[in-house]
Symmetry: D3
Subunit: 244 residues, 6 copies
């Protein structure tokens, strides 16, 4: 099985970290390719970043279809471009926020999301609402550090994350925490250990859920909202993306 | 006051129709400019089309800020790129689905949406949910005609639309109908007359609500999710969109 | 265009303040008349006050129809009598809580309501729920001062309001605040300035939204719940209100 | 125990029927007084009727407090004036829509409401939403007959009601029906028998629930939204209602 | 009328307390029998305890049908086995969480639940959600004491309960409190007095609501989800429970 | 990895079918054991059946923990005993309704459930509500055949199922269907083929999701509602289940 893990931002150090997290949980026989798009924001911290990242995600899925991938993980906690990517893919496409929330709702009674900049909070609230997870999500805690701070060696980012995770368990009645940024995908084991409760990395969860769906013979449903894009002209700079 | 009405698709015949609808309701002193992006899909009938259209919307708002526009209307019933556009704009940005739903919820007890292809239904359901309009929306009726059929003279598109609008009033307990495509913006008066109930065109509603908000001195809130995009590198084909 | 702004309480000093706020934002050509009913509570701080104020609101709309008004604003943050008034009116009728919430949901990702006595909290919760605004309303903060304290020169009412507005922005993740009492309608500019975020006065918003709806040719829908009152006898002290 | 059953409309033939239904279920030792207000609409079929009926309800509760009543039933399926009446009462006040919905949610998995004019549908939808009963209410079926048709001997009103009740059970997956008008309070036994499923009359249910609450020593909570009306001037025609 | 009050746990000292609370509010002519099942957990503090307690509840209802009971109260604040018991019963069956929430939603604008171990919180959240009470429930406060601590004379359990009840009123905007454990059923009067607001014991409320429903001639609806169990074999240790 | 698939009813022919479905999708290295409890109903078609089946499920998980299982699938579409079983298990426990709904919400925009007896509808509605899937579930279609009809060779059960699945796709705007009974687990491929849209069997989905969670190192969260049962006495016939 070939799974493409798409880091929607263009910071390749993060892409590598994401790839490692993905490969660490992949089943024997699953081939992981981690990529960043050829264009787009170096980090995703708002709706504007997301809009551009979405194109990169779609582009990578489009190429992935030609390359024979069986499924895709969108590795940013805002799940940018997810619905559009699903129109392009035959196989399943999952976002890491989506994957992490589903996992948490199966193993526990309520989760908290720990993430980065305060300004990204509404992105996550929107997803919680759209995925029907309001009764499972007990809090969203933003550390107010930038996404790329997670890439800086020697920063106190990790400490900040663990600190908020601990508060989520102790103050918000949560029994698991979601690592609300793909840049935290290397922290799953450590955070779990430190807080004594499951910490869920969506990249890892996404890979396993795609494996599960492919293993079930389930691809994206092609009869309603995720039907293949209708053939029509895309003009100007986007002519290369014209659906055929 | 200068309002930019952005038709997110690149079919300029529709853009002209939209511009006419906008100008027909604009107050004296309001200058309407109707545009299509320089790139993107010729019609918007799914999430994939929307993802690309969103970039065009953001681009037009970005340029609009330099040109001194006071507010923006996103003239496609899926409201593509709305949140991203709000990050870029100082003034208000409104989507036509949003505008039409707000208007309907003020003048009536329940509305129906009449729109185009069945495959676009989930886009609208998503908006109804996201805007908190579930208790007002009594039905979504798709005519299953393509968006561009509305541009074909002599087609029976208009008849199909009126037919579904009538059913919405008579069978679904609605007291108003929303014209669920910017390509129907010329039908507001006629549909209202034929069905004996308000038919709401979101383009018209969008223009008046932007006028209202600008008149109130209200622009987009700049402290949370709609704060200006953070300065960061956008790579590759999107480098021109790097926020500064 | 003639808009009647109805202060549902009978404190005319507040009515004048409301009238000033309304006129300050009205478009050229819009004629504002601010009135209080001929009967009813001097302030509205609970459901009992609201029930009586509702009659006054309906009465003013009834008279307004004879006087040729194009639309109405109900200028109390509990929106008393709104549905009943809509049955009577041909044109649009909007409540100031409703108007403020709609405006906030268009310009931002989440608002707080700042209002007066703790006992009025459930009135506002009810409106948030009824208008589908639960996903936008992040907090309701009551200052616990009486409505008429806002009319007392030299009181610290204004300071209390600003203080809670600031906390809403800083502690509750809101990006705008709603001034939850018509008696605060003179504070919109000052509060905005002090907290560095939009403060929305519903009176002002109500006037602009009525202008917008009238400009669209939209009146109240007359086919379902807001159809004109059926002709029937009203007995006793209410015989003057018998619908005909 | 003394319970006042208030028919909010002023049609005394209906008041008598309501009184009979109430007395038929009252416990030994419960004294039922059924009244109509001294003013107001002869039937309640919309929000306008409700606004005026609410004053009558409050007035009857106000007088009832002086007369030593222990609790109140508001006998109209729109529950007019309920919140205001609760501010005035020490004991419990229940609406018949409220009572019927609570009863149905305890004895079954889902109910339908059968009522009168189509225009009254939004009143009932509003109550279903406000009482949190959306997951229990499977349908609202309007017979489109007027309330007072139920008072006309020899009309086919009863047949129409039974017909819709039967459809609710057979087509809507409901296991009980709510008689959605106090004018149907004499039909409870007959409808139940004919459809082979519980038909719930809110007047009867209201009386028993008030008895239950009084028996528990529970009156209306007096610390938040239902605290006694604040002493303040009510002007003009309403001066007699000034809270003290 | 004969009402069986079933304490789903097997601690008979608690059963006696529950029986006393039930008898204290029962109407003349109502015969109360308080029982514990012949098997099951000595206290109920989680889903596992509930699963086993449910069998005991069903067993007691099954026997109760043979013994001619008119209705049942399930006296544990998790309402274990309620739906299953309803299939077996002709008369009404009510849970004490259900009864308390219904009572609170009629007499006030918002309640808090005060209960025992933190681990039981999700059980209560689930009920609040399932009963449609989310708009009425303002907080759930766990004292983190064990259920059986309430049975220990001289413990500070009572003080802990009153303390949290007071905070619920003062900090959470609630106007009533629900005693979230049948073991608190003796505290209703005292807590009410101490906090100056209604404290609702579900055992008492359950008895009165069953009396009310029986008085209405309403039993459990027998046409949908609560139809009698289909005759089928139950194997092994459960063969005695085979429905016939 | 060892996964125990628990058919909560005691019809072993169904258990074998379930085991086959499970083994057909299990990864190499996953060992599937399909069992029925030693006691309980031969089919599960209501809340009463569920209550007894839940004990069997818990018992099998309890034994499974001693036997070293890594995870569990509860193979009945009402997910009986799920929460209780989670308290007992270290590893993940998933219900087949839960698994199927999660899968459908990832691969499509809206699903329908096709199931057996009308009386079981409320069980499924309850799960849809509890899992937050209301925005994804477009219809529940009951065939009104008994569960064990699916075990009768030569019955028209299969045809009935396919017929309703087809209607769900064509009339209800769904893009996938859930096979709402473990007895349909052999139909996944055939139904998919016949209706041209994904048919999801929860047994298969459950196995793959458990594999995924175990592969992630995620077991049931042990800090809140799913913490291990507290040690306490279980009396009488249930003394063997006393948690230790």
């Amino acid at each position: 099985m070939k799974i493409k893990v798409i880091n929607p931002n263009t910071t390749w150090s993060m892409t590598e970290k994401i790839g490692e997290a993905a490969r660490a949980v992949a089943s024997p026989g699953t081939e992981i390719t981690a990529v960043s798009p050829q264009m787009g924001p170096v980090s995703i911290e708002g709706f504007h970043d997301e809009a551009f990242a979405a194109i990169g995600v779609v582009d990578e899925v489009r190429k992935g279809e030609a390359e024979g991938y069986d499924g895709y993980v969108v590795a940013c906690f805002g799940d940018p471009g997810l619905a559009a990517a699903r129109e392009v893919a035959r196989g399943p496409v999952i976002g890491i926020a989506e994957a992490a929330m589903h996992a948490a709702s199966i193993i526990g009674t309520g989760f908290s999301i720990i993430s980065t900049l305060e300004r990204s909070r509404p992105m996550m609230e929107h997803l919680v609402h759209a995925y029907g997870m309001e009764h499972f999500c007990r809090s969203i805690r933003m550390t107010d550090m930038a996404v790329l701070d997670l890439e800086v060696e020697g920063s106190n980012a990790q400490k900040l994350v663990i600190n908020e995770c601990r508060k989520a368990i102790e103050e918000d009645h949560s029994d698991s925490v979601l690592l609300g940024c793909a840049g935290m995908s290397d922290l799953m084991a450590q955070v779990s250990r430190e807080i004594g409760a499951p910490a869920i990395d969506g990249v890892s969860a996404g890979v396993k859920f795609v494996e599960a769906l492919v293993g079930l013979g389930l691809g994206t449903a092609k009869r309603q909202g995720y039907a293949s894009p209708l053939p029509k002209e895309y003009t100007g700079a986007f002519s290369a993306f014209t659906p055929t």
